[in-house]
């Protein structure tokens, strides 16, 4: 019942987000319509970070309590987390093509997101390699904890590495002074993505629980 309500709320929020992104928010002066991809890109990356934070919480929770619920939380957060980092990278690429003239550039933000993507794809691969639930949960938890602890280190190392090799002439996806309607449209989309994530998380946990009770 609650999940259903959350589902509908998510749909409404996503529609509102689309409206805000394409109708209400003005065309950005410098970049034109291309800038609108930011309404996808920024909420996606923020949601991904939220997801990986939850993977961390679930991992620590499992190691401390050994309750399967925590492991289900970690799994249910990791999958959408990978999805949202994927969206971040893809949308960044699509934005990069008209803006920088190339699909991929080793921009600091894109690169560190790509590294996170690889870390958590590895996490999901690892989960696929172990059948015994407790062993799988423990191994995954260790990787999940290290992965999360690594996020700030990855972030800084990539940022400094970019600064070293190419002083920041390239602007990040966000133009610096954000106009109020743009900020509001971002906020709406961010809320919509968080709701979407919460819905996916709840559903995935439900499925994982069914898997645990029926197949093991």
């Amino acid at each position: 019942m609650a999940a259903r309500a959350l589902g509908w709320l998510t749909v409404l929020a996503l529609i509102a987000g689309l409206g805000a992104a394409f109708g209400w928010a003005p065309r950005e002066a410098v970049q034109g319509n291309v800038q609108r991809i930011m309404y996808l890109h920024v909420p996606a990356v923020l949601t991904a970070y939220l997801a990986f934070a939850l993977v961390f919480v679930g991992s620590v929770g499992y190691l401390l309590t050994r309750r399967a619920g925590w492991d289900r939380l970690a799994l249910a957060a990791a999958e959408p987390g990978v999805l949202f980092t994927g969206i971040t990278i893809a949308s960044g690429s699509i934005w990069g093509k008209p803006t920088w003239g190339t699909w991929w550039t080793w921009d600091a933000r894109l690169t560190s997101t790509a590294v996170l993507f690889l870390v958590y794809v590895g996490y999901l691969l690892l989960r696929g390699m172990v059948d015994e639930p407790d062993r799988r949960a423990r191994a995954a938890a260790v990787v999940g904890i290290l992965g999360a602890a690594n996020i700030p280190i990855v972030h800084f190392s990539v940022k400094w590495w970019r600064a070293l090799h190419q002083p920041s002439t390239i602007l990040g996806p966000e133009p610096s002074p954000i106009a109020a309607p743009i900020a509001a449209a971002l906020l709406i989309n961010w809320i919509a993505f968080t709701l979407l994530f919460a819905y996916l998380l709840a559903k995935r946990m439900e499925i994982a629980q069914l898997e645990d009770t029926h197949a093991g």
Binding site: R66, D131, E132, D134, A215, G216
Partner: protein, 237 residues
Amino acid sequence: MVQAEHLRKTYGRTAVLDDVSLDLGAGEGLTLLGPNGTGKTTLLRIVATLLRPTSGLLRVAGADAVKEPEAVRGAIDMVGHGSWVYEDLTALENLRFWAVMGGHDAGEARLRAALEEVELDASADQRARTFSAGMKRRLALARVLLGRARLLLLDEPFTGLDRAGRKWLGEFLLSFKARGGALVVATHSFDAGVGVADRVAILAGGRIVLDRPAADLGLEDLRRVYDELAMGPGTAS
């Protein structure tokens, strides 16, 4: 020493152990009989805190084996399928390693004395790679001698030993018991396993189908019961 109540271990939908209850006093010897694949090793590994039961209660050496495995680990020792022997270390070096890891006295005199007790003193400085299975098991038993275990778990200890080796091992286990240690010997070989037991339990299909003092049953009775109950899983009704 071991109190197990309604232990259950499942992998997916298959139950390897189903409602296993056991009560083993200090200094008591239990032989766990059963054909291969009936959950003997699983039960032994659960008692050793190497595996967690899916459900049920387990106290070993007075501590909850699931909640405080560390307390259990100080009181038990194990000789499993593998003998915890590093092939490229000598017998003496192997002993020294496990003595230090277990927090025991690792003085060379003491190590050599333990090797002498298991009749490996002549091979003390040879690499374990050259040892037979029986010698490796003796080396594992020397390791047991160094510790202060009050409960010793053995998984198929008689396998691969010749007649003299079985006899020797039987005597070793009796002397361990005589010093007040409790034993659980899991074995599928009927003859070798019963000699050291105060109690015999038969495990079939993940359940304990018989648990009696060894004295209550004549050897012939027991053999008949074992053959009937355990040798043909499914026929045990």
